[in-house]
């Protein structure tokens, strides 16, 4: 008899326990952070440079300078042979590798530090500007891309008319239009929005069209045999049936819009979060650079998490539970005794529902 092998956590496609999932979630962030801490705080692990603490008699270095270890030793050898006072220093990491605590501090101070020059944007203003550009570009793209995509996915006429050109145009990288956009639209926000539009729209249209084409033909036929008009089939069958998938597409596309942001922001007058990053890199204040990058990641992540949660609420048939909007509608429009039952416990609500359906 073969003995069942106990493979523990490494079973193929077997669901982990809740506890294991949380531990792994924690580790997936903790491990990279630990690596970063080791490199930053444990001396001799990396620390390839020397930060000068006491310049001694050296003319070349001043306290606070970061220099190569070999250069430091050579300089000291020369100073010693000349009878001067040698430099002293401690091992340090390069400026582009700040320690976690410095970045953590910058996450707060970046918001509080006024811009170095008058007229420049505060950090939160930069972020606000970036978000505005992304959402405007994405919104304008969706205003055209979604209806046209649905049209192409529904009627072969529009598919043949529109999609070949879009498929061709899609392979132009959006940044090549940068100069053109500036020439046509000037140097302010308009070309930036245009870049995001170009980057998103030409991906969006084929994506929406494909998703629309994936609408279940059997449902469309069922609607036809129920006497639904073409308009009704489009509005009440095709669109609702692909809406959850379209929503997922939009989430992916919003992610792409963010990547085009970095291109868009260096077009014309530099602005937004990438301007902030460039500026801080010029000041060699890399902890601020990392802080800005982390904040972009967080905005992206929270935005996506919110949209995922929101999607579960507005498409209750996709998961088993009723969405909060459905429940809210039940509360508001339901029978009198249902009003305010949001304060009831789950158990009480279940009982009430049973009574109601009986």
């Amino acid at each position: 008899m073969m003995k069942m092998q106990n493979v523990g956590c490494f079973a193929i496609r077997k669901k982990l326990t809740r506890r294991q999932e949380y531990i792994l979630l924690f580790l997936s962030f903790a491990l990279p952070l630990l690596l970063w801490c080791l490199v930053s705080y444990v001396p001799f692990l990396y620390h390839p440079l020397i930060r000068v603490t006491d310049a001694g008699d050296s003319f070349l270095c001043a306290p606070g300078d970061l220099i190569e270890r070999s250069a430091f030793e050579e300089e000291n050898r020369e100073l010693a042979s000349g009878g001067g006072k040698v430099m002293r220093g401690e091992r340090a990491n390069p400026a582009y590798l700040p320690a976690p605590h410095q970045v953590a501090r910058s996450l707060v101070t970046a918001f509080l530090t006024p811009p170095r020059r008058d007229g420049e944007a505060w950090f939160h203003e930069s972020i606000g500007h970036s978000i505005r550009i992304v959402f405007l570009g994405f919104l304008i793209s969706s205003l055209f891309g979604v209806p046209l995509g649905i049209l192409c996915g529904t009627f072969p006429f529009f598919e043949r008319l529109i999609e070949p050109f879009i498929e061709f145009f899609r392979y132009f990288p959006a940044p090549v239009f940068a100069t053109l956009c500036v020439a046509i639209l000037g140097i302010n926000d308009a070309p930036k929005i245009a870049i995001i539009f170009i980057g998103t729209f030409f991906q969006q249209l084929p994506m929406v069209a494909n998703t629309t084409r994936s609408a279940d033909g059997a449902l469309i036929e069922a609607a036809q045999t129920l006497g639904a008009s073409r308009r009704r089939i489009l509005m009440k069958v095709i669109i609702p049936s692909v809406l959850p998938r379209l929503y997922k597409d939009m989430r992916i596309l919003l992610g792409w819009a963010w990547t085009y942001l970095i291109v868009a922001e260096v077009v014309g007058t530099s602005s937004g979060i990438s301007w902030f990053i460039n500026q801080q890199a010029k000041y060699r204040d890399f902890s601020n650079v990392y802080a800005a990058i982390i904040i972009i990641c967080c905005i992206g992540l929270f935005c996506d998490m919110f949209l995922a949660w929101f999607g579960r609420q507005i498409f209750p048939w996709e998961s088993k539970h009723k969405g909060i909007f459905y429940r809210a509608a039940e509360e508001i429009f339901g029978p009198r005794d249902q009003v305010f039952s949001i304060v009831l416990s789950k158990e009480e609500r279940r009982k009430r529902d049973e009574q109601h359906s009986a």
Binding site: G227, S241, W317, S357
Partner: protein, 299 residues
């Protein structure tokens, strides 16, 4: 093996004969005239799927279409529904030609085709709203239908929360709610397990008995066809043409015990011979079974 069974036609009781005679005198609801359907094949030739199909369905008749796989029975019912067009020939509903799908021919599919984003009640309302009923009227009629099929409690459920059999019941209610002239059913119980299928058959007969509806029912299940139908249209494969129109010698209402009566068995046997494809010499495969169980006494 059942060669002892007499011809099914001679087993028909006078009452059943009389009933079928009256049935054929009823007005014709739907008829097809010399229907042909060809599909182009990859080699450029045309494959004839349906050849010269002509038949009539009378008011409140239960007609089944049966045939070997590939005989085009699904294509035929899809043409009747208007979902596909015939290469030539005509379909008449109440004497008027059919060209496109419409609410006067309800259809139930083998796949579950309830709209998953609509609740059960809204699904039944869909067809009613399509034919121009306002929302309140549609809701009232839909709720009545849910009552008839015994699923009123599930009005606010989504289809995904119901079992397969329940979903098909809702699908039947949805097709019947706009009061079609004909109900077309394309292997509607094919995806259900055997037990649920039997329930659904009895249940369908019960609904059919109580309302004025003509049913055209496609199936590949012989028992199902004989048990449910007044008449059975048996098709041949390659090309699909009408083999025989069989009048079922069973009285109504049908009961499960009839599945064991000689009339049933004789009819079944007759159709089985009709639609079972003749075995060609090269199709016969020879089995070579090797005894791999060491213990011979076991055999």
């Amino acid at each position: 093996m059942n060669s002892t069974l007499p011809d099914y036609k001679q087993m028909m009781s006078p009452e059943v004969r009389d009933r079928l005679a009256r049935l054929v005198r009823r007005p014709v609801i739907m008829e097809t005239l010399n229907l042909f359907k060809e599909f182009p094949t990859s080699s450029g030739k045309k494959q004839i799927v349906l050849k010269d199909i002509s038949f009539q369905v009378h008011q409140r008749e239960f007609l089944s279409i049966i045939g070997p796989s590939g005989c085009g029975k699904s294509t035929l019912i899809r043409i009747l529904a208007g979902l596909e067009t015939a290469t030539s020939g005509e379909i008449l509903l109440d004497g008027k030609p059919v060209v496109a799908p419409g609410a006067e021919r309800g259809m139930v599919f083998q796949k579950y085709t309830l709209f998953p984003w609509l609740t059960v009640c809204r699904n039944v309302m869909f067809g009613l709203e399509s034919i121009g009923k306002d929302r309140d009227t549609a809701e009232n009629i839909a709720l009545q239908w849910l009552d008839i099929i015994g699923l009123a409690r599930y009005a606010d459920y989504y289809p995904g929360q119901l079992s397969g059999g329940m979903q098909q019941r809702v699908a039947i209610a949805r097709a019947l709610a706009p009061q079609p002239r004909v109900l077309l059913m394309d292997e509607p119980f094919g995806a259900l397990d055997a037990q649920t299928r039997t329930q659904m058959q009895n249940y369908l007969l019960e609904v059919w008995r109580n309302i004025d509806i003509t049913i055209i029912f496609v199936t590949h299940d012989l028992d199902e066809a004989v048990y449910l139908s007044d008449r059975i249209l048996a098709l041949k494969a390659n090309p699909g043409e009408i083999n025989e129109l069989i009048e079922v010698p069973l009285p109504r209402p049908r009961r499960s015990r009839m599945l064991l009566e000689p009339e049933f068995l004789a009819t079944r046997e007759h159709i089985d011979k009709l639609i079972r494809p003749p075995v060609k010499r090269e199709d016969e495969c020879e089995f070579k079974v090797v005894n791999m169980v060491g213990d011979k006494t076991f055999l």
